[in-house]
Amino acid sequence: MLLLPKFDYYEPKELTEACRLLSETGSKAKIIAGGTDILVNMKKGLISPKVLVSLGRISRLSEVERMNKSITIGSHLIIAKLAEFDLIRKRFSILASAAKVLGSPLVRNRATIGGNIVTARPAADLPPVLMALGAKVKLKSRRSEREVALDDFFIGPGATVIKPDEILTRVIIPETPSYTGGHYIKLGHRKALEIAIVAVASKITLNKPDGVIKDAKIVLSAVAPKAVHAKSAEEVLIGEKPSAKLFEEAASLAMNDCKPITDIRGGVDYRQAMVEILTRRTLSFAWKEAKKGKKQ
């Protein structure tokens, strides 16, 4: 049986109290949200924080709010609920689809959206779709509060711009215009409990149902130290009329927008080839959805 090292445990009911605890205990303390990542690392002896501060009793952190031009999701919302909320399923369907393929149902009932972002695994499922959706995160410490675009949040595997005394409180996703569609594909050896070999999230917005592409986002995951935009592929799409040929061109550019490594899950060449295929596929699905006028 894998045992956990000793630690002190606090579960404040208020966010301000959590911030105070973090600032007073300094680097000895760690946040615990769903625990599906941190408890595994502690059991394996990779880390042993002296203090754990749970966010589980701060009920506001599990709420989804609809604002004027955005929705904001509390960092402690569990992944299972992301796929259950009508608002998210209908208007941000790529987020719901990524949530459905994370881990297993048992993991999804504990794992949180905030935890998935802060762990910053190169193959994590939510960052690519949240980046495609243009999400920002709100970071709060005892003395300050700031918003950071997810595009600027990740530094590398396990590393982000979050400071040790900051708590990720909310994820803010802007409402998307009409004629927007999106799609997420995670390629793995099996359908559950799988870390992606390659994953691609695409989102496009048309100016009218049979019009040109106004905005395009393609985010590649598991092929670089962090999720990355396929920048040249995104650029080639803007202002063009969608077609199979255009998507092929974008897909082959996407191959060179990433720097995969060879590891146990796949080789460089295979991963690049899959980036091309998944980019093409996600774009055609996104196009189909965008034409319907549905909001993504």
């Binding site: 625990g35 599906t36 595994v40 297993s104 048992l106």
Partner: protein
């Protein structure tokens, strides 16, 4: 330092003093003697430790007992109605869905949670619902058949 927590397990209320570094699996097995919940991997991969916590099946090896304070928990021991097996349990027996039995508690927890939410699931939905539960013996087919059969019988 130990903390006092209150757990409702299988409709019985317990007040227990626990150290924060003990998992829900440990407290159920070692303090409450509910050894039907198994620990396989201890890191979320196998689902042998699954219990229903506030209506949702979770891996109890990745829940601190202190995090479960105030929760309502159902373990495999709370699935049957006294001597009468739950239809899912009965179907597992009849279909030969149990071999060594190590995965069974977790499988039944996941299956029951599914049927509570969705009494008539498709085969795909069943396979998805047990996708966090590993079985190294049966090859899953008999487990899936047992859950389908249970869902049929429960409808009547």
């Amino acid at each position: 330092m130990k903390q006092i927590i209150i757990l409702t397990v299988n409709n019985k209320v317990y007040e227990i003093a626990v150290a924060p570094n003990r998992t829900l699996t440990q407290v159920l097995r070692e303090d409450l003697n509910l050894t039907g919940t198994k620990e396989g991997c201890g890191i979320g991969d196998c689902g042998a430790c699954a219990v229903i916590m506030d209506g949702r099946p979770v891996n109890s090896c990745l829940v601190l007992a202190v995090q479960a304070n105030g929760s309502d928990i159902t373990t495999i021991e709370g699935i049957a109605e006294r001597e009468k097996l739950h239809p899912v349990q009965q179907a597992f027996v009849e279909h030969g869905a149990i071999q060594c039995g190590f995965c069974t508690s977790g499988m039944i927890i996941s299956a029951k949670s599914l049927l509570d939410k969705k009494p008539k699931p498709s085969e795909l939905e069943i396979r998805e619902a047990i996708s966090g539960n590993l079985c190294r013996c049966t090859g899953y087919q008999k487990i899936v058949e047992a859950i389908m059969d249970a869902s049929q019988k429960m409808k009547k």
